[in-house]
């Protein structure tokens, strides 16, 4: 199963890209509209990119009244990513979305590196959200957590149905001439190929710690990358930065993944999930 990472695709601007996915994840929506951070908002680096978009979004009302009906027409299952500045923000958003049949899953963005965090812990936010919706809840966590498996166990105990791993990790890029930060917001979230080993470790550890379904993401650019995330424990993968460079990435990576599975005599993604944790090497046919 291939999704987009939240904030890495506008399905209404590029419906053909969204339709190539198994589910579309919205950009994070907050209770109130947000303009986001001032420019400059992105900076490419050697092995990835930094962003400091700052959760630009139309607010929950804008999403519900304008975008959600049009997104539903795409015919792709919808995951709505929600963000807030307190546990009650998340809970209120979940309560509103709980009544919308178009929404398949709610992803709790607990780890945006570009805005202030809610004071509550991830587990407290999941607890608050859980009481307000029966829809599947995925907790999106940062790889920078000091004890990620512990956090994963805590959100599981709080009622999360799955994990989205990982969000970007904070980074800085300097202008080579002025030695000043290249981003208007100075620090940003780092994504792209450099994030892959970090994300793989997060998936590997959290699979072992919780056994929860995991959407793995972080630097996936090929079918082999996707296969590795699944072997580490991901049930699904999400594409982020690669979508910027290659709008046809969903179809390409799907094809490449099928080839990688066939080359190893593996039947399907189900058989691969968690394979790295089981004994015995996989032979390439």
């Amino acid at each position: 199963m291939i999704l987009n990472a939240s904030g890495c695709l506008d399905a209404l601007e590029a419906p053909e890209v969204a339709r190539a996915l198994d589910a579309f994840v919205t950009k994070t929506v907050t209770p109130q509209p947000r303009e986001g951070n001032r420019p400059v908002r992105i900076a490419e680096t050697e092995a990835g990119m930094l962003n400091s978009i700052g959760l630009e979004n139309p607010g929950i009302e804008g999403l519900l009244s304008d975008k959600l009906p049009r997104l539903a027409e795409l015919g792709v299952p919808l995951w709505v990513s929600v963000g807030g500045f307190s546990a009650s923000d998340y809970a209120d958003l979940c309560a509103v979305l709980d009544g919308r049949a178009e929404v398949a899953t709610i992803e709790l963005n607990l780890s945006c590196p570009n805005v202030e965090e809610a004071p509550e812990s991830a587990a407290e936010i999941v607890t608050a959200a859980r009481t307000r919706t029966a829809k599947p809840l995925y907790a999106k966590l940062s790889p920078a957590a000091s004890d990620l498996p512990e956090t994963a166990r805590a959100v599981q105990a709080a009622g999360a149905d799955g994990l989205s791993l990982v969000n970007t990790i904070r980074g800085l890029a300097l202008d080579e001439r002025t030695l000043q930060p290249r981003l208007g917001h100075e620090l940003g979230g780092y994504s792209g190929p450099a994030l892959k080993p970090i994300a793989l470790a997060a998936v590997y550890q959290c699979y072992r710690a919780t056994g929860l379904p995991i959407v793995g993401m972080g630097g996936i650019t090929t079918g082999l990358d996707a296969l590795e995330f699944m072997a580490a424990g991901a049930r699904a993968v999400a594409l982020g930065t690669v979508l910027f460079a290659d709008p046809q990435a969903p179809g390409r990576i799907r094809r490449e993944l099928a080839e990688e599975l066939a080359a190893r005599d593996l039947a399907d993604a189900e058989e691969v999930c968690g394979l790295s944790h089981r004994a015995g090497p996989v032979r390439v046919a």
């Binding site: 904030g7 890495c8 695709l9 506008d10 601007e13 590029a14 890209v17 950009k27 303009e35 986001g36 001032r38 420019p39 400059v40 908002r41 992105i42 900076a43 490419e44 680096t45 050697e46 092995a47 990835g48 990119m49 962003n51 978009i53 630009e56 202008d175 080579e176 001439r177 002025t178 000043q180 930060p181 290249r182 208007g184 792209g192 190929p193 930065t241 979508l243 910027f244 460079a245 290659d246 709008p247 046809q248």
Partner: protein, 269 residues
């Protein structure tokens, strides 16, 4: 209709400090002058937005200035290399103009050859940093060329008095100066851009008081009413480091970019 294709580089010709990179057209539509394409920058994570410079039969040609790792990689491509090319993207110039005057500064000359071709070689006013840079003026017929310290805006007033309608591309200070003289000018702007198709929100700029993605609302904007139905308006944003970090003198629309580049002119990484 925008598409993505892997296309072969046919030629890479130096033109003053610039490179004119010609790739096969494949099945891509050349689009409207002022629209841009995302070009794979070999070895870099992100593509670079470049406005189309020329559209000879079977080819797409892009003029770029090597100002950062991405444009350096593109400037180093050789015939036979293959690049992923995605486009055309964004909104180009509104072509129904009675007495067009093309105005370009530096690498901002990039979209003007194709624009000139589509409009039947109207008069053009081009400004460059040096005689070396001014070699790019050879791409635009019927052009008057000035070299610093003379600025294009010094010549502009007479044309505007003469009822010419300005279609411009160039560094932001030039566009601001052009707009002061010709408020109804169609101007091609730039902002850092990772994707070019509305996915990354990296190029959001303030247009008519509202943050909008320049890749969708622009890159060509005019004062009253949008080009091709997109919202438009004046005013990009200001950023405190803009002059240093993003607007290498005279990059322009079409070659926007680097690093996330901006669609339209080059940028500095």
């Amino acid at each position: 209709m925008r598409r993505s294709e892997r296309l072969r580089v046919l030629a890479n010709e130096p033109l003053g400090p610039y490179a004119l990179v010609r790739v096969e057209r494949g099945s891509l539509d050349p689009g409207i002058p002022g629209q841009f394409f995302m070009l794979e920058a070999p070895g870099r994570p992100l593509p670079r937005p470049m406005s189309l410079c020329q559209a000879p039969p079977g080819e797409l040609a892009f003029l770029l200035e090597a100002v950062g790792p991405g444009t350096r990689a593109l400037a180093a491509t050789e015939p036979g290399d293959e690049l992923n090319v995605y486009g055309p993207l964004g909104n180009g110039y509104r072509l129904e103009v009675e007495r067009p005057l093309l105005v370009g500064g530096g690498i901002g000359v990039a979209p003007l050859p194709y624009l000139s071709q589509r409009l039947g070689a109207p008069p053009a006013l081009l400004g460059f940093r040096s005689d070396w840079h001014a070699e790019a003026a050879a791409l635009v017929p019927n052009a008057e060329v000035v070299v610093e310290p003379i600025l294009v805006t010094e010549q502009l007033t007479d044309f505007v008095r003469d009822a010419h309608k300005v279609m411009a591309c160039g560094p932001e200070p030039m566009l601001e100066a052009v707009r002061a003289i010709a408020p109804d000018a169609q101007l091609a702007w730039e902002a850092p851009m990772a994707c070019g198709y509305g996915a990354c929100y990296g190029c959001s700029v303030e247009i008519d008081g509202v943050l909008q993605r320049l890749c969708i609302a622009g890159p060509v904007l005019e004062q009253n009413g949008g080009t091709h139905g997109s919202p438009v308006g004046p005013l990009l944003y200001t950023t405190r480091r803009r002059a240093d970090s993003w607007a290498p003198a005279g990059q322009s629309p079409a070659t926007p970019v680097d690093a996330t580049s901006r669609p339209s002119r080059g940028s500095r990484e």
